[in-house]
Symmetry: C2
Subunit: 540 residues, 2 copies
């Protein structure tokens, strides 16, 4: 039997585009004499359409598409995902899989385990299914028994999968949309291998690939035998039609990416997909000469092409000579066009306009914010005028403590490095430079500064980033409290100050641009904190 995995990049909601993509794969598979073709979860609508699922027309359109696709599936078995109304209780919705053979839907299976944690809200949309997912079909004169299941069904206690395996299915067929996070690919494959071995079952596991708003799907679909042996593994962060022949069992395993490459490729795919799926080609990025904008620009260029990235230099009287030089060197290395605008004339008009009303103008960060907002306004003008998306350049450490200006440097439609802590930004710059040197050495080596007042350094108001990132990870990723974090070797008063800062800046994060999720606790759907929150008082 020839099995194929269609690890494809879908666009949420674009049923017609997805349908063409699906039918292309079917045709290719038919031409290769594939017997069984497996697609990812919610194939026809992409994962996850969120509240589009509340529109009955949308659900109807998905079903129409599945039926149309089914008709084209002659001489091939196909497993495809879609949302469907419960047949007897149409107000209920299922996350379903159709098993298609000879142009007909032979079985519908509805997902049993609905994830509702981190970025997942499936209880909001779906009702759990009850069908056992088992069917026997004849392929080339031989009978095969399959156990169809969906994503979360194979995780945790995997109850339905264990039952299917007990019923001696020849193959478990899992259709997934399992988003990427650091360290997840390896642990996912190990989990799947263990599941196969523990239950003595063969598995075809097809994962989604591509970016959808903050989510990044890595693909890395696999075929594993009942000994837990990896027989095939698709590329990470690439679309692929992988064909596996069970008669010769020729092992096909794509190379695993190393840690930094994986991160970098995740950011590239996410950026490319966010732009292109939303109909944008061009990006604007403000180049400060610092590390964050340098990495953002490098990724934008690698994702979108140098011809589609415009660098803006918007220096003030506080910008150092080396910052401007570093920004220009970066732009030259990246071969991107730049425009330079000194903001001092605008800054001085704002200052002249506002100081009569404010004796405290230079206190309370008012003047610093003005500079950032002049830059935001200029950059957005280029974005508006050029049908481009402005890239926001903030990192996770900054965003955590609110070391950024709303409507200023936070302005923008996409924030590529928002889920990287500051030290990880440095590491990824070093990595990027191993491919070709684009980020100037002095950008990496100089002490970081917002340059919003004379001789300002990040270290004036923040601890060193080793300390800061360690405290932030313990609080945000591990939910530790102040005492626990202090016991890791930090000053308790510093820890309390940082924690309070994180909580008090929630209002900024809730107005921030979205960006690629790289961890299991990104500032996005993963972390849902109230703005009005009296708890930080207790840290004080």
């Amino acid at each position: 039997m020839k099995i194929a995995i269609a690890q494809i990049n879908l666009t949420v909601g674009d049923i017609k585009f997805n349908q063409r993509n699906i039918l292309d794969q079917v045709k290719k598979a038919q031409a290769l004499r594939v017997d069984l073709l497996v697609f990812p979860e919610l194939t026809v609508c992409g994962y996850l359409p969120e509240d589009l699922l509340y529109h009955q027309q949308f659900i109807d359109d998905c079903l129409t598409s599945v039926k149309f696709i089914a008709e084209q599936c002659q001489e091939i078995c196909v497993v495809i995902g879609f949302p469907r109304n419960h047949p007897n209780e149409p107000e209920k919705l299922h996350n379903s899989a159709a098993f298609i053979q000879n142009g007909k839907i032979k079985m519908m299976y509805d997902k049993h385990q609905l994830p509702n944690y981190l970025v997942f809200d499936e209880h909001r949309y779906f009702t759990k299914g009850s069908h056992d997912g088992i069917l026997e079909v004849e392929i080339k004169g031989e009978s095969h028994k399959f156990g169809v299941n969906i994503c979360e069904d194979i995780w945790n206690d995997a109850k339905i999968v264990v039952e299917q395996a007990k019923d001696n299915v020849d193959w478990l067929l899992n259709i997934s949309a399992s988003p990427y996070a650091v360290d997840k690919i390896g642990s996912r494959i190990r989990m799947l291998q263990k599941r196969c071995k523990d239950n003595g079952a063969n598995l075809v596991y097809c994962n989604n690939v591509g970016g959808q708003d903050e989510l990044v799907f890595d693909g890395t679909s696999v075929i594993i035998n009942s000994d837990g042996k990896l027989l095939a593994q698709c590329e990470t962060f690439q679309s692929q039609l992988l064909v596996f022949d069970t008669t010769d069992n020729e092992i096909q395993i794509s190379e695993r990416l190393d840690h930094q490459t994986e991160l970098y490729e995740a950011l590239l795919m996410s950026t490319r997909d966010y732009f292109h799926k939303n109909g944008f080609l061009k990006a604007i990025v403000c180049l400060s000469g610092g590390i964050d904008s340098a990495l953002t620009a490098a990724i934008a260029v690698d994702a979108l092409g140098a011809e589609n990235v415009l660098g803006l230099l918007l220096p003030s009287k506080f910008s150092s000579k080396h910052s401007i030089e570093d920004a220009l060197e970066l732009a030259e290395n990246l071969k991107i066009k730049t425009h330079s605008i000194e903001i001092e004339s605008l800054h001085s008009v704002f200052e002249k306009t506002l100081t009569p009303f404010m004796e405290d103008y230079f206190k309370n960060l008012t003047d610093e914010n003005i500079q950032a907002r002049i830059r935001g306004t200029l950059a957005m003008a280029f974005a508006n005028n050029d049908n481009a998306i402005l890239l926001s350049t903030g990192n996770k450490s900054e965003s955590a403590v609110g070391y950024s200006t709303l409507y200023g440097d936070m302005a923008g439609g996409f924030a590529i490095i928002k889920d990287l802590f500051k030290l990880e930004v440095y590491e990824l710059c070093e990595y990027r430079n191993t491919i070709s040197v684009v980020i100037p050495e002095s950008t990496i080596s100089k002490p970081p500064s917002a340059e919003l007042r004379l001789d300002q350094k990040d270290s004036d108001s923040l601890p060193d980033y080793e300390t800061l990132d360690d405290i932030l990870k313990a609080y945000i990723h591990d939910f530790k409290d102040a005492e626990q974090i202090a016991s890791q070797g930090h000053d308790i008063n510093l820890v309390k100050r940082i924690l309070k800062q994180v909580d008090r800046n929630e209002y900024k994060r809730q107005q921030a641009a979205l960006g690629p999720r790289l961890t299991k606790m990104a500032f996005g759907k993963d972390r849902r904190m109230p703005i009005t929150n009296g708890y930080p008082n207790n840290y004080g």
Copy 2:
């Protein structure tokens, strides 16, 4: 028996503040010889702490508080809400109620029905309980049987409540945090009356009151007898300790507010609580002379006091004379201080700065957005300098179609009228003027305009608001598709254009300030749409 409802205003996360508030009520009730005192859902932590619930220290602190409170509850029975770990599986969390008597917790009940739709995400945090909630206690030498349940437990099929009633409890005790929405108060009370009558049970229903980020809790707690008769009803949008004596059965029913009063009071409470719970006294509002900023300013003044509201007039060369006059008249009527800054000098520097780079500067809305962003930057400077929150003035119709500038008029920390369609803004202005005339007649009667270019009117790019609001309600509130909406009497091409505009502007709404939720489908937690969304293509 004397029963009291403590309809109090809690602050999410501020366990110490809530504890003081709770103990104050206990003392007052003790002084009034109350036998049974009932608090709202999740009393000690407020509703809903969202991901604070993932912090074990937070859960521990809640339990410590409940134990401390219990010790003070002598000679009174108290029902109080809090989150608690499952006793045997500490990784699970319950939304619980403690029944306290003589300083001891006599019973813990865990909520059965966990809402997970609209703004609710309780499946994300809680595991459903299994305790029957029934207990018998002796009060003044007589035995009383109670059925404790929590909020959603009494809605829908109300399974646990029906069981408690079957077990002949003397009183159902429901502790709630049921957020306000238009038309909800009446239907909630009718539902509760029906529940009592159908099951022949008496009910004490204690609801939360106050604002928490976008949520507004109206209170309106009730006592209903087994015939479905309303015996007592607390105030709407006010804290209250209501005492009801079952021996004399003296009926105490606060007057229901009419529709406009109810809306207005919801906005006042929400605004006041957002500011004060976040430690802010002062608001900034940009006065354009238009209806949206007029209503926003009026509500801000009524909520925060005239001395705490600063009006900014930021006219451009496109601002009409009547706009400035209307804005000044409004400010005078509201007795608020104003500052006026002509933006033309800044505007011309931006224009001079940018036009060399952009031959299309005056196309693509670039110049219009610049003006809005100059205003946003100026207004934020006043907010930063004055430790104030800038109020964003956009309404739901504008926000739906993206008729607004990100970082411009959308800048701000709180958007009071964001859940009012444009026509509702007019209605609420008329209402406000019935209390005292503050909003100038010409602000209400003139055709709306953004005044970002010469002689601009909203009607240049939008249909009349009767049409627009009708289409938007059908799409956003009722999930209708284009054909269905057209069949209400609208041009199909207009409908498709509007629907596409709604979907394409999701990116703006996801960076918008939060504001009071008045409907069951506000632009906030209620409506979760992807930004990357290929479905609108199908409308075209």
